[in-house]
């Protein structure tokens, strides 16, 4: 099973000043289930298409199992039909003039697989993907989810070492998404294929992939497990892109002496650092409290939005707004005052370029660590600790 290596991969379309893919280097290990995650237009699909060979690179190199398949430097390009990499298109690209079965066995026919074996492999793949009963139908007679399974079966039938999926869940409705998600997980286990998929949806990425590569504007931002990326975003973009509701951002440069603001509050708790430009905190890490402590801020509950099983609460502190999310029913009503704690270990800091800053321990005011005795952030009053 192959390893895919991208080295300084760059794609520049004619007429675009900015490259669509800019110096991306990454390695996809054998058997990995990787997601290229990023907003639309960030170049993730282009990378997928370059790996498949439908697009070619402008510079850099793609190697599959140490065999270079596309490199300007070596003037080498292997066309998609010789790469044996599977690609499932976002809108499936089934051939409308062929039945499901013909779609699935097309690749095997091209390889001159004997009829009997072909039939057997087709049946096997179709039954694994539960589309056997539609074998004689045409793609237009199938639902979106069924079409996608046919597109998957078409690729899996030829047993490619690598499977590329373009936005695999985006065209499906909510129930089908859950179903297909389980299906893909199962496929990854049964076939043991390396899978790379592209998504703009963090839910899709988080729930499916073992590894996530976050992209923006053609550049790779961060690679890591879903947990790593959530807990330690390497820059402001990743922090803001991942997480729902969005991470709260406090611009520390806006700190003034004139009126109280969140920026002032946070500045007062860290020793001044000229590089520190932005502070961020995840909504669920904010702690609401009934009683005031030295580090809490008096805020007003502006808005309580139930989202089914959880709540998003909008808080105001002077001009500033914060969003808090919680799994337990809020004990306050809109318009009521509340004391808010921003735990120091939950604060992320970024410099003026958006890069993550790790502040030295000495710079942080750890007095709030008293609170650590209460690991879950509930709405329970912290009065005792104070």
């Amino acid at each position: 099973m192959p390893t895919i290596t991208l080295t300084n991969l760059t794609k520049r379309y004619d007429g675009n000043t900015e490259p669509s893919v800019d110096q991306v280097s990454l390695t996809v290990e054998d058997g990995e289930f990787m997601c290229l995650l990023g907003p639309s237009g960030c170049g993730k699909t282009t990378i997928l298409r370059m790996i498949a060979g439908i697009e070619h690179s402008t510079s850099g190199e793609i190697a599959v199992d140490n065999l270079v398949v596309d490199s300007v430097h070596q003037s080498c390009f292997i066309p998609p039909e010789q790469r044996r990499i599977g690609l499932v298109f976002q809108n499936y690209a089934l051939w409308p003039h062929m039945t499901v079965e013909r779609n699935v066995d097309f690749g095997l026919r091209l390889q001159n697989v004997p009829a009997q074996e072909r039939k057997a492999r087709c049946l096997d793949v179709m039954s694994k993907l539960r589309i056997l009963e539609y074998a004689d139908r045409y793609p237009s007679q199938l639902s979106g989810g069924q079409q996608q399974r046919v597109a998957l079966a078409r690729m899996l039938a030829v047993n490619p070492g690598v499977l590329l999926l373009d936005e695999p869940l985006s065209n499906l409705d909510a129930t089908l998404r859950l179903e297909m998600r389980a299906e893909l997980r199962r496929l990854h286990q049964t076939f043991g294929t390396t899978i790379i998929f592209v998504s703009h949806d963090q839910w899709e990425a988080m729930t499916l992939a073992n590894t996530i590569a976050v992209m923006n504007k053609g550049q790779l931002q961060q690679i890591g497990t879903p947990d790593e990326i959530y807990a330690e975003p390497s820059n402001r973009f990743v922090a803001e892109f991942i997480g729902n509701p969005k991470i709260n951002i406090v611009d520390l440069k806006a700190a003034t002496t004139e009126h109280v603001s969140l920026a002032n509050h946070i500045q007062s708790r860290i020793s001044a650092n000229e590089f520190t430009s932005v502070c961020a905190i995840r909504p669920e890490e904010i702690v609401l409290n009934n009683t005031a402590t030295p580090h809490t801020l008096p805020m007003i509950i502006e808005n309580i939005m139930p989202t089914g099983g959880s709540w998003v609460i909008e808080l105001s502190f002077g001009e500033d707004r914060l969003f808090h999310s919680t799994q337990s029913r809020p004990a306050w009503r809109e318009g009521e005052p509340v004391n808010v704690l921003l735990p120091m270990q939950s604060l992320h800091f970024f410099d003026h370029n958006g890069k993550r800053l790790v502040l030295p321990e000495s710079d942080l005011d750890y007095s709030h660590l008293l609170l650590r005795s209460n690991p879950t952030h509930t709405n329970q009053p912290y009065a005792k600790q104070a």
Binding site: T7, N8, T10, D14, Q23, A52, G53, I54, H56, S59, G60, E61, S71, V72, H73, S75, C76, F77, P79, P80, E81, Q82, R84, I85, G86, L87, F89, N91, A93, L94, W95, P96, H97, F106, G107, L110, Q111, R154, M155, V158
Partner: protein, 609 residues
């Protein structure tokens, strides 16, 4: 350090490496080769004739040495001066130009007025017999224009021209020249022919209009008159404009109608003037006139392109554009149908009936029983000088019919396949220049009316040039000319079909491991079978109706049905000529029905292209 250097080098590979890489990529993309071959092919087939005729207007033509006091082939401004500024320029160019523009303008104004009204009735009201009229109103567009011209002369012909008199004349009613020939009947007939086009284009626009836009205005309290003039009309304006320009351009090149109805009273248009110049061996003058026609075509197209650009600004994506709500006409319901019915009667029933009756009457305009006979269809041993058998028993007729099928059929097939290949090459070719060159050059014949194009072909292929032998008088020149003249339609529908198909089905096949040949034969062509069939049949229909190309390029041995009927007309075998015309109309109609069978929706969309 080395890695740094390596990275820097990788970032900007040198030109040679990049070129070799591009070649490695392009090697696996046969569309590049196809694109290049097609580009060269069309450069010779389309660009060369057009250029050659433009050059012809500046060099001394054979036989004009004495007039110009120069050697044949040397540079001269004689033709330009003669056509544009000399004492006879009034007859050669300016009067025909004025006539042409007057005809085009008149046709546009009247067909737009009638067409928009009928389109509205058919698409937006509860007029009686709406569904039936939706089809019936289109029929005049399927008939060749000169069908109407022949029917007109059958009824209104007067003593100005010899031969058999018109019906009114034989009934004792003298028709004046202004009714029988010239501006009035030409515009009348062209309006009949082009009104269906307006109905199609405007009707489609009306149907595509998002009803929510009108609803929003209605909710705000706008009366229907305001909605019509400040919402609907501005939104369909692009469609109106494109219909008007299309008709204008077509009228400029119209040859057959002015040939039949203008010539007897010396009412010349540019197209007939060009024909007359060629006929009298004034090739240089003909080249200048052809150039003028092309310039008008280019101007029209530039206006069209510009308006399309403007129109794109307010293209809205109307997802639920279904207009099911119809305007209740109330008491006007039947009169409205009467109006549409009158159009169908004048545009379809009357001309066809007239032509048919004329083919079974010995003497025109005498409606008593012994005057009727089927001899002109199936008679034999008639007491005429030539054509002693009915048309269906005449070998020349079948020869012409066979020629039509072979020449028009093969050229339609060639242009259909070429169109698909052009579409493929334009969308897949890695070199952008080749793609846009192909797109533009295949569209060029659209600017050049058939008669000018035929003249261009004559000028280029009449003599042997390089490896190409002299083609005049062979079916080959007709086939090539037809292919070239049908390319605007063929390439546009090819490009449209390939755009609609998108790249993905083929990319999926590549991923599955298919080489180019299997991709073409197993994926592209099977999927495109429907569009391809339409792309062949539509040019076939317009090809058998066409006159202008044939009248210049055909000789008696390569007679097709159209030229055969015009020849019969010239020899005053009116009944036989009209019978041939009816057969052409029949073939055209059958072909259209066939297209509808194949493509299901075909007709309206197909003709709009």
């Amino acid at each position: 350090m080395t890695t740094l250097l390596n990275a820097a080098e990788q970032k900007k590979p040198n030109l040679w490496r990049r070129a070799r890489h591009s070649f490695a990529v392009a090697r696996h993309e046969p569309a590049n080769l196809i694109g290049l071959v097609l580009a060269i092919f069309f450069a010779y087939l389309i660009l060369a004739p057009v250029l050659s005729i433009l050059v012809d207007s500046f060099i001394v033509q054979s036989g004009d040495e004495a007039r110009t006091h120069q050697d044949e082939g040397s540079f001269t401004l004689y033709y330009i001066v003669r056509t544009l500024f000399s004492r006879i320029s009034e007859i050669l160019l300016w009067q025909p130009l004025y006539n042409t523009l007057a005809i085009a303008a008149g046709t546009v104004v009247f067909s737009m007025t009638i067409g928009v009204a009928l389109a509205w009735l058919v698409n937006r009201t509860n007029m009686a017999g709406r569904a039936w009229f939706a089809t019936a109103l289109i029929v005049p567009f399927m008939l060749p224009t000169w069908t109407f011209a022949l029917a007109w002369t059958t009824i209104f012909k007067n003593r100005t021209v010899g031969g058999q008199p018109g019906w009114l004349e034989s009934l004792g009613i003298t028709t004046s020249n202004s009714v029988a020939y010239g501006y009035f009947p030409i515009v009348f007939i062209l309006v009949l022919h082009y009104t269906p086009l307006v109905i199609l284009i405007v009707g489609n626009a009306l149907r595509r209009l998002d009803s929510q836009m009108e609803d929003s205005a209605r909710v705000l309290g706008a009366p229907s008159r305001v909605i019509a003039f400040s919402i609907v009309l501005p939104l369909i304006r692009p469609a109106l404009m494109s219909a008007a320009l299309l008709i204008f351009a077509d009228c400029i090149g119209e040859f057959a109608v002015p040939y039949i109805l203008g010539l007897p009273v010396r009412y010349d248009t540019l197209a007939t003037g060009l024909y007359r110049a060629l006929d009298t061996r004034q090739n240089g003058v003909a080249a200048v006139i052809a150039g003028v026609i092309m310039i008008i075509g280019v101007i029209t197209l530039l206006i069209d392109v510009r308006m399309m650009k403007e129109a794109r600004r307010f293209v809205t994506v109307g997802g639920k554009g279904n207009m099911d709500r119809l305007r209740k006409l109330g008491r006007m319901r039947l009169p409205a149908s009467g109006l549409a019915g009158a159009f169908v009667f004048i545009g379809v029933v009357l001309p066809l009936l007239t032509l048919f009756l004329s083919t079974i009457m010995i003497l025109p305009g005498r409606f008593n029983l012994e005057n009727f006979t089927f001899d002109y269809w199936i008679g034999s041993n008639l007491d005429t000088v030539a054509l002693r058998n009915g048309i269906l028993l005449t070998p020349e007729f079948w020869q012409a019919a066979w020629n039509t099928i072979v020449i028009v059929g093969s050229s339609s097939m060639i242009s259909g396949v070429l169109g698909l290949l052009v579409g493929y090459a334009v969308l897949r070719c890695s070199f952008k220049g080749v793609g846009s060159f192909l797109r533009q050059i295949t569209f060029l014949p659209y600017l050049v009316p058939g008669i000018a194009f035929a003249a261009a072909f004559l000028s280029l292929f009449a003599v042997a040039r390089g490896p190409i032998p002299a083609l005049y008088g062979t079916p080959a020149i007709l086939i090539i000319a037809l292919v070239a003249s049908k390319m605007p339609f063929a390439s546009r529908s090819g490009i449209a079909a390939m755009t609609q198909l998108g790249k993905e089905p083929e990319e999926a096949a590549r991923i599955a491991g298919a080489n180019w040949f299997s991709r073409m034969t197993k994926i592209i062509i099977p999927i495109q079978a429907g569009p391809l069939a339409t792309g062949i049949l539509l040019p076939f229909i317009s090809g058998i109706k066409g006159v202008s190309l044939f009248i210049i390029l055909a000789i008696p041995s390569t007679d097709v049905l159209t030229t055969y009927s015009l020849r019969l007309l010239d020899y005053n075998y009116d009944q036989a000529a009209n019978a041939v015309v009816l057969m052409i109309a029949l073939i055209a109609w059958l072909g259209t029905v066939l297209i509808q069978k194949i493509s299901g929706t075909g007709l309206a969309q197909g003709l709009e292209n």
